[in-house]
């Protein structure tokens, strides 16, 4: 029953998110607004209900599985991918590497610069 409550709550937040986005013509996807609203609810309540925690853990621990049907969609796009394989492969590969490297370096530098120098334990390097 707890799992059911948790998953129901996640779906309710998604539904409210989707409806709000459409009603107000917001530029963000419904599930993202649902996530923001759930986050604000948790902040206000000051704790995560066990049911929501269980449902979230179950979904997020098998996150890779959820991408499989979309990945199989490759077979429906073989033609287009074959036609433009060079820009697709190179742009995807180089852009992913660039994003990963730049983000990691920026995070490392800004943490060092901006972290309070007074020996605060939160963000020291190992």
């Amino acid at each position: 029953m707890q799992f059911l409550n948790g998953i129901t709550l996640l779906l309710v937040y998604q539904l409210v998110g989707e409806v709000t986005v459409r009603l107000l013509g917001l530029p963000i996807p419904g599930p993202v607004l649902g996530m923001v609203m759930l986050f604000l609810t948790l902040m206000i309540r000051g704790r995560t209900p066990q049911s929501v925690d269980n449902a979230a853990t179950a979904l997020l621990s098998h996150l890779s599985l959820l991408f499989v049907p979309a990945g199989v969609g490759m077979m429906a796009h073989f033609g287009r991918i074959a036609d433009e394989w060079l820009p697709i492969t190179l742009a995807l590969l180089l852009s992913t590497i660039l994003t990963m490297v730049a983000t990691a370096l920026i995070m490392q530098l800004t943490t060092r610069w901006l972290a309070k120098p007074a020996g605060q334990g939160g963000c020291k390097d190992e």
Binding site: P29, M43, A70, G71, M107
Partner: protein, 249 residues
């Protein structure tokens, strides 16, 4: 899986006709393929090269091509798994909330890295695809590729890409990040799990996060956090970036 053309028995053929029209088969083979792929992954000592998404996608495409099934038939069943990406996105609020105290300490570095990362991901994929002669449709389908699937598909639709192609590119991006991430950090001598996690989540969303959790719980938590925040940032920044680049290119 049997090839319907090779079945001599009309009874079996009837069963095949029934099954291929029902969502049961698509859903079941997705779960079975993932189960096998995950077992292989554990067998190889969690080698990133045996990423369960890669193996199960390859396995499923193989089975579908051999049985002459279409993607639409398959997706009639697999959509139930695909659908869960929506509630999973909402569920990201939970790790986000649990890491909030760490986030509050690091909010400025995280915000700066996140905005830079999202702009670099969107800008470089549009720019590179444009340089290499990709069509506008491809550029727009690539632009949100570092965000998690439902978010990226929603953005792709808004900016003139193909949502279903974006979904494929999102998966390929996640796999690329999961495969190369730890090696890249090693070469760059980045040892801080916080920085590694943020970079993994921004560049390679959920598939990268799954990989990050194997390295350390802290890297995983920060990757999940970055994935959640970058889903939000991508939705806000990429449509604006597309307009800006359209004016420039």
């Amino acid at each position: 899986m049997n090839n319907p053309g090779l079945l001599p028995d009309p009874g079996l053929k009837d069963i095949w006709v029934y099954l291929s029209a029902s969502p049961l088969l698509g859903l079941t083979i997705t779960l079975v393929a993932y189960g096998l792929a995950y077992r292989l992954y554990l067998r190889t000592g969690s080698s990133p090269w045996a990423n369960p998404v890669v193996t199960s996608v390859a396995l499923l495409i193989g089975v579908l091509v051999l049985t002459g099934s279409t993607y639409d038939d398959y997706f009639a069943g697999a959509q139930f798994v695909h659908f869960l990406l929506g509630p999973a996105t909402v569920a990201l609020a939970v790790p986000l909330y649990q890491q909030f105290s760490r986030l509050r300490q690091l909010w400025l570095p995280v915000t700066i890295s996140l905005i830079c990362g999202v702009v670099i991901a969107g800008g470089s994929s549009i720019g590179l695809a444009w340089l290499l002669g990709g069509s506008t449709e491809i550029q727009m389908s690539l632009a949100p590729k570092s965000a998690t699937a439902p978010v990226a598909m929603g953005i792709s639709e808004k900016i003139g890409g193909l949502p279903s192609l974006t979904a494929v590119l999102v998966v390929l991006t996640g796999i690329t990040g999961a495969l190369l991430g730890t090696k890249l950090f090693e070469w760059l001598r980045i040892k801080d799990d916080t920085a590694k996690g943020i970079a993994m989540g921004v560049a390679a969303h959920g598939i990268g996060t799954a990989r990050a959790f194997q390295v350390s719980p802290q890297m995983g938590a920060f990757s999940g956090l970055a994935m959640a925040l970058s889903a939000f940032a991508t939705a806000l920044l990429v449509p604006w970036l597309v307009d800006l680049m359209a004016a420039l290119l």
